[in-house]
């Protein structure tokens, strides 16, 4: 059954803007992205928003819905209390281009800073071999759809100077670092850089990245904390340091 809902959508560009209110008919089964498309079709033809797959897989439709970083295509209307005005805003952490579209290119710059995969030599028969249990851990990280919701919610980037100073690459790229560092075939050592350049110490494990990840990647428990532990091995645990000196 169709109902009428009130939307408060932010409209504007880098120079500024304001919320605009829309009363719009919502049908059963709709997601927020559907409603935004209906607003675009019927009431605001020039409303800018990004989307591609409408299946939670391309990571394009990231925005803030009722104050929470979410994918518009995965936010069902019936999960938002009836009678409540739905506030839709662009991501806070990245510069606004127009309406709900932000410029997330800072993330691509971070990605480029990360030393790439360096596989060890092939076996004598020319094959690379690895075992499922050894790649289980890194496979979880491959689920990332690069929606940057975790980057948006991370308070180091969102409310502090982490992004401006490039002092922290953010949770998405800590995950990328973890997937490379834990890879059984990789030979590169990124641990000193994890601490000194990528800022593992900036994260205080408040876990907001994990809370918003639409792919349910355990960003902190399985990615960032294991990296922090590897940093501890290298820099803060004299017993581990001594063992390395003796046994190489």
């Amino acid at each position: 059954m169709a109902t009428t809902r009130t939307f408060k959508v932010w409209r504007g560009d880098a120079k500024g803007g304001e919320f605009q209110r829309f009363e719009i008919e919502v049908d059963e089964g709709m997601v927020v992205l559907d409603v935004l498309h209906r607003i675009q079709a019927r009431q605001a033809n020039d409303l800018a928003l990004r989307w591609n797959c409408k299946a939670g897989k391309c990571g394009s439709c990231s925005m803030e819905i009722n104050g929470k970083p979410r994918l518009a295509c995965m936010t069902r209307m019936n999960s938002l209390p009836e009678g409540e005005t739905i506030t839709v805003q662009p991501l806070k952490t990245f510069p606004v281009m127009k309406d709900l579209v932000t410029d997330v290119s800072w993330n691509y710059e971070q990605n480029r800073r990360i030393p790439k995969f360096q596989p060890k030599p092939r076996d004598s028969d020319g094959a690379y071999r690895m075992y499922q249990e050894d790649v289980d851990r890194v496979q979880e990280f491959r689920k990332c759809i690069e929606c940057y919701l975790c980057q948006d919610v991370c308070h180091v980037l969102r409310d502090r100077d982490g992004r401006e100073q490039n002092s922290f690459v953010g949770p998405r790229f800590m995950i990328r670092l973890a997937s490379l560092e834990m890879h059984p075939l990789d030979t590169a050592d990124r641990i000193p850089a994890v601490r000194d350049e990528f800022g593992s110490g900036m994260c205080n494990i408040t876990k907001c990245c994990t809370e918003v990840c639409p792919e349910h990647i355990h960003i902190t428990d399985n990615g960032i904390i294991p990296l922090k532990e590897r940093v501890v091995d290298r820099f803060y645990d004299p017993i581990a340091m001594l063992m390395r000196k003796i046994f190489g």
């Binding site: 803007g17 059984p184 205080n204 532990e229 501890v232």
Partner: protein, 274 residues
Amino acid sequence: MAPHPSAVGGHVEGFGATERKDGWWVEPAVTAVVFLTFVVYTTWAALQGVHYHWGPYLSPFYSPLLFAAPGDEAGLHHAWFGAWPTWWPSFLPASPAVLILAFPGSFRFTCYYYRKAYYRSFAGSPPGCAVGPLAGNRPYRGETFLLLFQNLHRYAMYFAVLFVFILSYDAIVSYWWDGRIGVGVGSIILTLNAVLIGAYTFGCHSFRHMIGGGTDCMSCGKATLKYGAWKKATWFNERHMEFAWLSLVWVMVTDLYVRLLSAGVITDLNTWSR
């Protein structure tokens, strides 16, 4: 279509500022209450120096009992090194708990799970996801600089593992009284305490790292002990928050039970028929 004035993106700024409409503050508020209760109760119980043992039971806040409290003859059979040392400075509280509490205390304080809880509840850093932090505009250094000590969690973990064995020993001893095997409500409480502390400790991120998480090739195709142990630690790690809270509350319950018995407020149901 009335316009609402706002900054770029319409995001509100300042401590606690958010567009969230759910009860995001409930979790940090409950955390703060339970945590403060624990700190106040533990401090009070640790400074008492009395009523920390009864029969075969020993309060976990006083275990291992290195020296029995001054004048506590009955406690001597729990003590590892006998009576309270005469060299103990008089300006320090003469309670056996003060000798050991720093170890489990620092383990919990530097625990990766608890960091989330208290950074949100007490430091407001941030108080909730997508909610304005307490110190928004000041330079932020995370866990570098002053909070570098969080990296000592590794050491706290080594001691915590030792404490699991000590508390398990206390639990086993609690089934033994004057040469007779038996069981009391207290034995069960002490056993549960050892189990919960064990479940919390073996789910520690540092522990999981040390027993296998630090290697990239955990099995290399062979069914290694290391891989099996890492998987078990992972099971506990996935439930780390639950065991953190359960064990925190239960350790208070255990102390309180022994304390009430010792003070004669309650009686223990047991098979030794006392």
